[in-house]
């Protein structure tokens, strides 16, 4: 490894300990990479001064033998929905124009307390609504992976800026957030590891809400081990979030043993979707072979309610969003577009402040909660959600982990699927079920499409069994030997 920006967190941690380089060195290298990589549009706000100051503090701690965690001195990106004290926070939306929070979200506070160095705020789909990072007010993010056809690929979404920054080596890791697949799907599209912990593992306090019962913070890294190290710093009970769960944090990295002998790995037959590209199915088969060779036992399982997950999600998430986004009304902060009276001011502000996809979801969410439709949509969706959860619970009596594709395709070109929201929503078909059930899931880069774009495989475990998840994912990662580099890195000078 000649470049500091090519290091993994684990490698950098060891190098910092050995004194091969300082955090300031690491951070400066990433600040340069971030500046050089502006074409990717991965960051909404760069914070080089804060980064260097925190890096210097980290070096001082380490010199005194008081490094705080595995993240101490590690330069990372933060998805721009984490409220960061004194730093513009946009959630990718025009409506949060000029919003500088006077407070720090719990997750980013935890990372900061662990010594992590904030490089900047990463671009994202507006209010985390999207699967391609094309709904951001701050323009689409480009996937560092491209082909020779001259078309830029989407990085997936909604944590597209985080994914691109990690895949493009602008940041060593990034904090994402996952509501229906917003960490895992972009991880798959950009050839990195993206992990969504159990709902309640990370505090949602200070995180701009999309769908409260689904939103969960998680790490986006280049290796499974790095994800374990980073989650260790992010997670933990927070009494300020009533849905965060009070239980001890295991040592996630220690759970990575390389041994999955005897592990029962469920292969859900319903994830074999009609019309799914052959290359996805082929990769999945290879994944099954890899874990079998590693001594685990693949078991076919059935999750018959899987087909209802996507429609259920697209009722529950917009319903919550329609209410969560009501606070953006032009009265107290962010954008205000005046009008002749109060209602006009609301309409002008929200009409200009929210993009099309956000408006679409606010409208559909409002609709499913309306008198006369509530029972037919919202109540039914909540019942299905319970059924989906119960089905997972039953399945996890028989298996320890599930193995599925992460997304039904590789990254598509920017501009595709724009006229068809449903086609766009289908991106989340494999990630949404675990989200609805609150289960931890991880996407591991496992191969390339025929065209040469990265593809991920997803693993899911039962609630709060992130240890098994990391252990199994690391074995999958090792077996997959994913070494391909995005075109963007090949083009670096």
């Amino acid at each position: 490894m000649s470049r500091l920006t090519d290091l993994t967190i684990a490698q950098a941690r060891d190098g910092l300990d050995r004194g091969d380089y300082t955090s300031v060195d690491l951070t400066a290298a990433h600040i340069a990479a971030m500046a050089a990589g502006r074409d990717l549009n991965a960051f909404v706000t760069e914070t080089p001064d804060i980064a260097l100051a925190r890096a210097a503090e980290s070096d001082e701690r380490r010199a005194n033998g008081a490094a705080k965690s595995g993240m101490d001195g590690i330069p990372i990106g933060l998805k721009d929905l984490y409220c960061t004290e004194g730093v513009l926070t946009t959630a990718g939306s025009h409506i949060l124009d000029g919003f500088i929070p006077p407070y720090e979200s719990t997750v980013t506070r935890n990372l900061q307390d662990g010594g992590a160095v904030m490089l900047g705020k990463t671009n994202m789909d507006e209010f985390a609504m999207g699967s391609a990072n094309v709904t951001s007010y701050y323009e689409p993010v480009k996937n560092p992976w491209s082909l020779d056809d001259g078309k830029d690929r989407v990085p997936g979404g909604s944590s597209g800026g985080s994914a691109a920054s990690v895949a493009g080596h602008l940041a060593m890791a990034a904090a994402g957030s996952d509501t229906g697949g917003s960490i895992r799907q972009p991880a798959s599209f950009t050839g990195i590891v993206g992990m969504k912990p159990t709902y309640g593992r990370c505090s949602r306090w200070g995180m701009v809400a999309f769908a409260s019962s689904l939103d969960q913070a998680g790490p986006m890294t280049r290796t499974v081990r790095d994800a374990a190290i980073m989650l260790q710093s992010m997670a933990g009970y927070d009494k300020k979030d009533s849905t965060s769960v009070e239980r001890d944090l295991p040592d996630f990295e220690a759970a990575i043993t390389g041994n999955i002998k005897g592990l029962r790995v469920g292969i859900p037959i319903e994830y074999r979707m009609e019309g799914m590209p052959y290359e996805i199915e082929d990769l999945w088969h290879r994944g099954v072979d890899w874990i079998r060779e590693a001594g685990a036992e693949p078991v076919e399982v059935s999750l018959p309610h899987t087909k209802y997950a996507l429609p259920t999600y697209y009722i529950v998430a917009p319903a919550e969003a329609s209410s969560n986004l009501a606070r953006y009304d032009g009265v107290r902060y962010g954008l205000r577009v005046d009008g002749g009276d109060l209602n006009e001011m609301y309409a002008n502000t929200r009409g200009e402040g929210f993009g099309d996809e956000v408006q679409r979801r606010v409208l559909s969410g409002t609709y499913v909660l309306s008198a006369g439709y509530y029972d037919a949509y919202y109540v039914k969706a909540m019942k299905l959600r319970t059924l989906i959860l119960q089905e997972f619970q039953k399945t996890f009596e028989k298996v320890d982990v599930l193995l599925t594709p992460t997304a039904p395709s590789a990254a598509f070109a920017i501009g595709e699927k724009m006229d068809d929201p449903v086609a766009m929503y289908l991106n989340d078909v494999f990630t949404v079920p675990a989200s609805l059930a609150g289960l931890p899931g991880i996407s591991v880069p496992s191969g390339l499409s025929e065209e040469g774009l990265p593809l991920g495989l997803q693993m899911i475990t039962k609630p709060f069994d992130e240890e098994t998840l990391f252990r199994a994912a690391e074995v999958l990662e090792t077996a997959a030997e994913f070494k391909a580099q995005p075109s963007y890195l090949r083009g670096r000078s």
Binding site: P101, R204, A209, A211, S242, L369, A371
Partner: protein, 482 residues
Amino acid sequence: MTYLIEGETGDWEVVIGLEVHAQIVSEAKLFSGAATEFGAEPNSQVSLVDAAMPGMLPVINEVCVEQAVRTGLGLEAEINLHSVFERKNYFYPDLPQGYQISQFLNPIVGEGIIHLDMPEGPREIGVERLHMEQDAGKSLHDQDPKRTYIDLNRSGVALMEIVSKPDLRSPEEAGAYMRKLRAILRYLGTCDGNMEQGSLRCDANVSVRHPGEELRTRAEIKNINSVRFVMQAIEHEAERQVEVYESGGDVVQETRLYDPNKGETRSMRSKEEAHDYRYFPDPDLLPLDITQEYVDAIKSGLPELPDAKKERFISDFELAPEDAAVLVADKDSAEFFEALAEGRNAKLAANWVIHELFAVLNKEGKSIAESQVNADDLGKLIDLISDDTISGRIAKDVFEVMVSDGGDPAKIVEEKGLKQITDTGEIETMVDQLIADNPDQAQQYKDGNEKVAGWFVGQAMKASQGKANPQMVNELLKKKLG
């Protein structure tokens, strides 16, 4: 007396249900740590949660839960161990979140009862439910000709909404219900009941019908802030509805406001304009699950409530039920009375509180807590009557001094020389003088006209400026003239 409105098409009965919003007594708001003190500088008691900053989350204040359960128990109501907070969605600038966190399908308290003492007899009014919810902020429309100012101090303050069944049948019953509910809340210490400061607000659902009919369409009168206005608003609204029906119209379901200056209700918004609140369970909060042990512990700590206190006053102090009812109607009055009656003649104490003290307080528009005369001093005054230091009549004079200037009654008696004359010689001299001065009356007395005895006593009191012991005067007259 049944309250009926006489119309051209016959008598009309009024059907009333009340929704009372009671601010929970707590240091902090329902879902944030901000303070709740009344009258603070605008926007000085607002947390990030109350202002609905991005990413802020509500956390339930357990004190408020305890207060709601306590209130439910005080209303003899069913406590629901499982309740759910839901979001009531609507846009308004003083509602920062764009929704109010409330309870809808699963409130913390179910059906209960409030007992009323009406002149025509006892009445039981059903309570439908009690739920917790957040208050909104306040819009100030009069600070600027063009703009509205927002004060978020109230935003997020914990309220209990207490909903009655449509069991009330007259403005008087509605007034009695409000006063009784307020008394119970104050006894429990769960709401200070202060309507002027907005700690207690009332929405009245009013409809009219011919007796025996099914319920007709109701109108809701919003945000009434005094018991008197509640009664007036109902009266005016009922009359309006009767007029609408009798002129061939139909009452429409709508929200109305009461204008106390004009003595009328007027339409605020119709059913068509009504909000669709889109209630759904708040995903930021887990369902509220409490245990029976928790409820039992609160129950064991409940204070004596007005109904029980009234019974005790009747049985222990032998008070007339009307007097007992007057005394327990207010927690402070009941406590004042009990302190006063301790070791004294309870009936005498009750009389002094009800007839003397209340008269003064009513005249001055003061509550008993603001009384210039405390129970201790009033007790000393009663003691002076009981040990014959002063007569009841003199006591009233002393009381007046206590009200106007304050002070220890014994000292007042001493300083003003009001001590009762119980010296036989002094009274005998006075009586002899009276007999000598009034031979006609003396003769009448001797002839057996007993009425004239009263006249003599009156004269003696006059001559002694009220200080003569009237009993002694009587006895001496009998001795000398009988």
